[in-house]
Amino acid sequence: MAAPRACLRLVAPIWNLSASGSRCLSSAVTPEGNQRKGGMLLQFLADRFYDVEALRDYLFQKQLSKVHKKNRSFVGIKKRYGPYIAGASFVLKQGGAVKFQGQEWIRATGHGYSRLKLLNFQAVPIEAVDASDCAINYEGLDNILALKELQSLFLQRCPHVDDWCLSRLHQLASSLQELSLAGCPRISERGLACLHHLQNLRRLDISDLPAVSNPGLTQILVEEMLPKCEVVGAEWAQGLKSGPEEQSQDTASPLPT
């Protein structure tokens, strides 16, 4: 393949877009018409040249390793400064927010955040984590599960949080009171089934989960599973169609004799 660097620059944003169907929420900005043509061209070439196929493979592996790198465990920091600082650094690095007990929300981009300030809170447990829109996955959850006094966890619109991640949350069962999973594209009712370990949960948000097959029924079953918890999510009547209205119209119209 000639001019590999130029090719990569051309190919990389197109790859991001063609993969976005399955990976979701990647931030490519090229216009629709161009990207579809580019995607088709890439597919055409990939079907005919092993090099292009290997290139696509390589780009895909690179995307995956990017997510993995973001989710490394902060083992060194954990050993030196304790689990709370490690968890806080992890969440802040990902772009989320952290709330220590008795303090305000700390965000990486916000006012008054500095890494040195964090060190003051070495012994202060974290009571809330807001990891919304972060690329946190199964491995990265290690850092959060070490926070044994966590009371609220917000995982809204996280693209890599799936059913496997939910099965790990049982480690926070003793303290977790509020959990929000709204808008996560990979969570289905199968992952929600393992939330029954969280017996102290008082508020659960399961709205807008596209992978759940039957949102209304799932809401009812989750409410039955966690009787002391307030489940916010789909309305139970969402799955029902407007049958009775049609019937009443029929009876009103005169029957043919």
């Binding site: 496997w164 099965s167 089934a193 799932t218 079953l221 039955e224």
Partner: protein, 492 residues
């Protein structure tokens, strides 16, 4: 004879020409004339039909480095790992032969799909742990460019094993081993059990072990199709046909103690096409026996077990098909979303299926009650007599089925276990005498959940000669001759 044919031709031609009008030229049935002439020449010439250039695209290739007999989840897993671990890329030509491309009787598709780490042997636990990792990262392992990602529909609900007084000590021991290997399992007392799962009747239960992570059930068909798709993209060839014969050669050798021993090597595999006598001899270097319930028959074709009893030559592969039933029933007041895969003290099991209060379950029959494995017909009385009573005792909500048993059983099917009659654990690795046949079979009901790890182990054995990641030396064939049983210590 030729002259006679030519005269016939000339005579025919002149007759034809004579009949047609001069201005009209040839009669229009030229092709018919040609085929008649061809037939006449053929009947005049000696020998049968000779078709030098006919279509062989339906036949497997004539040479292949590795032939995998059996295209189920184990066979495809071995093919995948062979292609992944080979050095350099594209070095090994692999052919997968399966006699049914619809997988209508294959154990993989008919499986209930459970995966657990609650075994008593460390090897089984390690195999299962790796397989769960594989399933979790299935879209990294089995990614194919431009194909949609796989969704194995994993339900992480865990397994719940119940033990009576007699089995409580064994269960505690098992859980200790499982925890050592890294499985996340916890023990529960009957009171904790009642608190967590109020629908259980803990009568007769002394202890329970519950898997917290990495256990549950998934869609085996998705795993099979994912493996198939990936393996095809890596260049593995598929052939639909039945292995009917192995062409082997023997060499007589002597052990260090002077005893004579016959070592065999398989040179060719004869693959016979469906509904036809046509077969293709495939020359190969290595044969992998992953034929599931029929592995015993395939091994016999290679001469394994043909010899005086109590010798290594005479030791058969003790894998045979055993029929198991699975029933799907509906119970509106049954346990809810949190239901794990429950395995009762009596051996009956059930799990939740979907969101509509449907449950899948079954029971392993005792040796005396083993059904005839000749077909996959379902015995509905078995559900009434053996499966429903213990489950209804354990989960009182199921007694709603008492008066309507047949009506509420929505569906049932039967599948085969590749049952290892010796110790109910898998056979992995080469045969000591037939040095190029490797086994990956005999897992007796837990083949699906260990398939990715077993595939990797067999691929390592083939490519490097030893197990590198998980040591399965206790699952080798030689244990059948030495009489060393490697049994799971099951709780009663």
């Amino acid at each position: 004879m030729f002259r006679g044919a030519v005269w016939l031709l000339a005579g025919r031609g002149s007759l034809g020409r004579g009949l047609s009008t001069r201005s009209g030229g040839w009669t229009p049935d030229w092709t018919e004339k040609v085929s008649e002439i061809k037939k006449k020449i053929q009947s005049a010439l000696p020998g049968g039909a000779w078709h030098p250039l006919y279509d062989t695209s339906h036949l497997p290739p004539e040479h292949s480095d590795v032939v995998i007999v059996g295209g189920g989840v184990l066979g495809l897993s071995v093919a995948y790992w062979l292609k992944r671990l080979e050095k350099p890329r594209g070095a090994i030509k692999v052919l997968v032969v399966d006699r049914d491309h619809t997988y209508s009787q294959a154990s993989t598709g008919l499986s209930v799909g459970g995966i657990r780490q609650q075994f008593s042997l460390p090897e089984n636990i390690q195999l299962s742990l790796f397989s769960v990792d594989f399933l979790r990262n299935i879209n990294e392992y089995l990614a194919v460019v431009n194909d949609p990602p796989l969704d194995v529909q994993f339900n992480p609900s865990g397994y719940l094993f119940l033990a009576s007084e007699k089995g409580a000590a064994i269960m505690e021991n098992n859980v200790k081993v499982q925890r050592q290997e890294g499985a996340k399992v916890c023990l529960m007392s009957p009171e904790q059990l009642r608190n967590k799962f109020p629908w259980i009747n803990t009568d007769g239960v002394a202890l329970a072990s519950y898997g917290l992570e990495g256990e549950g059930w998934f869609d085996p068909w998705c795993l099979l199709q994912g493996l198939r798709r990936k393996v095809q993209s890596l260049g593995v060839l598929f052939s639909q046909g039945e292995v009917t014969r192995f062409i082997t050669s023997s060499s007589h050798m002597q052990t260090t103690s002077g005893k004579g021993v016959t070592m065999k090597r398989i040179h060719e595999v004869h693959v016979k096409m469906d509904h036809s006598l046509e077969y293709q001899p495939v020359e190969c270097a290595i044969v992998i026996n992953a034929a599931g319930a029929w592995s015993g028959q395939v091994a016999e074709l290679a001469g394994i077990g043909k010899g005086p009893p109590d010798t290594l030559e005479g030791t058969k592969l003790p894998v045979e098909p055993r029929k198991r039933y699975v029933y799907l029933w509906h119970c509106p007041e049954g346990p809810g979303l949190e239901t794990p895969f429950v395995a009762d003290t009596s051996g009956a099991y059930f799990r939740r299926e979907g969101l509509g209060h449907n449950y899948l379950g079954g029971c392993s029959p005792t040796e005396e009650e083993e059904p005839d494995p000749g077909n996959l017909e379902v015995d509905h009385d078995f559900f009434q007599d053996k499966v429903w009573p213990p489950l209804a005792h354990r989960v009182p909500a199921f007694q709603c089925l008492k008066h309507l048993v047949r009506l509420q059983v929505r569906s049932a099917w039967a599948g085969y276990y590749d049952y290892n009659t010796f110790d109910q654990n898998g056979v992995v690795g080469p045969h000591p005498l037939v040095s190029n046949m490797y086994f990956a079979t005999g897992f007796s009901g837990h083949g699906l959940q260990q398939a990715p790890a077993v595939g990797r182990a067999v691929a390592e054995m083939v490519l490097e000669g030893q197990f590198r990641t998980i040591d399965l030396s206790s699952f080798l064939f030689s244990r059948f001759y030495l009489g060393e049983k490697v049994e799971e210590r099951n709780i009663i």
